[in-house]
């Protein structure tokens, strides 16, 4: 969990893009950037997960550091001099997007991802002919009625592993397996999800930033060409299955529930649900 939300009394002074700013001790550089209105791209970071700093798209320059540092996990220190928009930063951020977009499908990622790709002028096509370079192209995994795993969209941000494990669910059904470009998210011995420890809470889908993990309802509608977020509304309600009080966001299109989420900043769920809240809505359409 992100521990920076707790109240802190001490402030530290840092230089951020030439401006002297005071931020609470214990903040990350990313926290400081957001506080000061400096828009910073992230992929593997989420407010309800422990930072793993693997995507490297949030890197910034810190005086005295030989290499760039990940703003999502580096804590501020008194007197730190940070630059977020230097040539070095722009080059590395652009290259991270070029490397990712040349190897995985990014078209179902959040709109801001495409905006950042445009912002930094990333040109993944210069990596070579897609037919001749290594990519993550592979068949979609559909093994049950609830989940779809489309790993050619996976950027290996580790969010699903964290949500399945220590950060939320503590089920540990999935982990990173293999190594290097062959590293991938897997159950033990790559068994199918129904044969694994998975409890179908859907929290991995909830945190996936690129659509590699999807609800089968959404996947099927996308395949059929009927998925249309502009025609969707979101109704917030409280889950009625038990007394915990989880907030549900019902995504509704054409008067049918198509997806259920929970707000990441909700004090009960932190964005995470169980199988009942996430999938127990079919009776509404029975």
């Amino acid at each position: 969990m992100n521990e920076t939300a707790v109240s802190v009394s001490t402030m530290v002074e840092i230089s951020l893009d030439g401006e002297s700013v005071r931020v609470p001790e214990g903040s990350t550089i990313l926290d400081a950037c957001r506080r000061e209105g400096i828009n910073t791209p992230t992929l593997c970071w989420a407010e309800n997960l422990t930072p793993v700093n693997v995507c490297r798209v949030c890197v910034v320059e810190v005086e005295g550091s030989r290499v760039l540092v990940p703003s999502c996990s580096r804590k501020v220190e008194e007197g730190m001099v940070v630059a977020t928009d230097t040539e070095r930063v722009r080059t590395s951020r652009r290259m991270v997007y070029e490397l990712l977009a040349s190897s995985v499908e990014m078209d179902r990622a959040a709109p801001e991802v495409q905006a950042w790709i445009d912002h930094y002028g990333a040109r993944p096509e210069r990596m070579g002919d897609p037919a001749e370079i290594a990519t993550q192209a592979q068949p979609v995994k559909v093994q049950d009625d609830l989940y779809v795993r489309d790993y050619e969209r996976c950027i290996l941000c580790y969010k699903c592993v964290e949500a399945c494990g220590d950060d939320a669910q503590h089920t540990y059904a999935i982990a990173t397996a293999g190594r290097g470009f062959g590293a991938h998210i897997s159950t033990e011995h790559d068994v199918s999800l129904p044969d694994s420890a998975c409890v179908y809470c859907g929290n991995c889908i909830g945190v996936c930033p690129t659509g590699a993990l999807a609800f089968k309802t959404e996947h099927d509608m996308r395949e059929a060409g009927t998925w249309d977020e502009s025609r969707q509304s979101v109704a917030t309600t409280v889950c009625s299955f038990c007394g915990v009080g989880c907030n549900l966001e019902l995504h509704v299109q054409d008067e049918r529930i198509v997806k259920v989420t929970s707000p990441a900043d909700h004090s009960v769920t932190y964005g995470h649900l169980c199988i009942k809240g996430r999938f127990g809505w079919q009776h509404a359409h029975a």
């Binding site: 700093n53 990712l100 950027i155 033990e188 044969d195």
Partner: protein, 613 residues
Amino acid sequence: MPDLYFGATDEATDAERAAVAEAIAGFGPVVVRESERLVHAGRARTVERRQLLLPALHALQRASGWISPGGLDHVCSELEVPPAEAYGVATFYHLFTHEPPRADDTLHVCDDVACRLFGAVDLIDDLRAEGHYVKASPCLGQCERGPAVMVQRTGRDDLTVTAVDGGRVTTAEVAVAIDTATSTPSVTLPQAGSGDLRLLARVGVVDPSSLDDYRAHGGYRALEAALAMGGDRVIAEVTASGLSGRGGAAFPTGVKWRGVADQEGRPRHLVCNADESEPGTFKDRVVMEGDPFSLVEAMTVAGTAIGAEQGWLYIRGEYPVATARLRHAIDEAYAAGLLGGDVAESGIRFDLTLRSGAGAYICGEETALFNSLEGKRGEPRNKPPFPTTHGLFGEPTAINNVETLVNVLPIVQMGGEAYAAEGTERSPGTKLFCLSGRVNRPGTYEVEFGATLRDLMDLAGGLVDGSELRAVMLGGAAGSFVGPEALDMPLTLEDTRVAGASLGSGVVMVFDQHDDLVDTVRRIAEFFRDESCGQCVPCRVGTVRQEEVLVRLGRGSHIDDERDLLDDLATVMRDASICGLGQTASGAIRSAIELGLLDGIAATGGTEGEGSR
């Protein structure tokens, strides 16, 4: 058993159960506290059980030739590790396999930069033609006598097979070695008999299996002196000596030790990084095979000095001979009261545990090594925090390379100042170099800092007949190429730094006018692609894209068309990767381009022609 789901349909075999029981013997059942719902919550549990995962996986692999689903579930149930996580760990390492074995013996044949100069590619073909099950391997650390074969065996000890002294190993010799279960004897030192040797003085002289013989050759006098002078004084002497890390980063050893000794946290750890996997590097192997007690003694000196009760020796899994000798040396030292609760009757505790890696260059990165020891995937951690405060199990840790540690013995005996008087002012002492390639007497050499590249090559008998020097790979695949103009450069930390090069792990690999350097450079790119842990994007994808460019160059693509892309790849890997692997993955390649080594011959391609004369 809390919260774990075991889905494997097959059961562990009796042999697997017995092997696992032996591997984790000595660790009693874990008491699961009622409040402890999380499977691996709480560091106490991590230390108790999860760190046994790697030895348990080795036991499975050895017992049945693969990590079977039933066997893995059994290990997970014994250690209370979620099966998906254990599978993630097992699939991280090249020496673990995940399909039923195709043969009792797997031949890992090195086809890395040095061995491929000497017919490795042909050897692989020939061994396959004779029916062996062969896997091409990254550098096996036998570059002075390549091509090298590591035989991984089911139910038996692994073997190293190479030529003995000079020449190349034949398929018949490999077959005999397997039949007789005999590794090729350790190398003879080219400098054998020289009175100038310090770190190598006992190699080839002392009986590596005999504690008595080690003592008869001056062994354990340094520990005696160190215990008499006390930890603070030992650290002061090491600081005064100016000793710096020999693993590649050259960090001042005394500063590191002081940092750990000053920590209030307990326990503290001393870790020896013997995961020598940098292509072209074999010096630590020579020390460990020839003088294993010296490393055990040096670790005891270091551990008692910094107040570490627990020492860990992490050795690469491809060194069966060194591993066996070190295990024996540790057992002997325990039996003689030189390790354990009362080291040499000093009242100080120092325990030493040996752990084998399983085929992962990245585990030579210090924080990846910690994760590997802890039973996790060998993925490097972000720094800071540094090992001094947050090392193994998040506790204060000093981690040193083998060569660094054995330097401590003479420092303690002669005093830091006397040690500092040798070598150069900023690079005191002696240095081990790994000479390979087109020299007459390849091998490990010990010279005082300040010797030039030319001095070293002369010591190695100069270039072989008909060779003209084209380039030298200095410091390893993570180092750089230098040309003939660098022959008079003193091989010191300061001089190489000025020249934009690095001593790295002491690699001096010599290439001549016939060598296909496009192929060599492509192999380096392949090495980094294969060895990237996959955690961060710049390295995981960048090393793949870099290799693709090098393959295109080998097929006739022009360097000028690829330069911008190579530059950008180098920049993002150097600036934005988590660890040193990604940060250095483009260094040798860029230096080769700057030297013009990839110009002109780009269209020749292939390796079997001139390359394997």
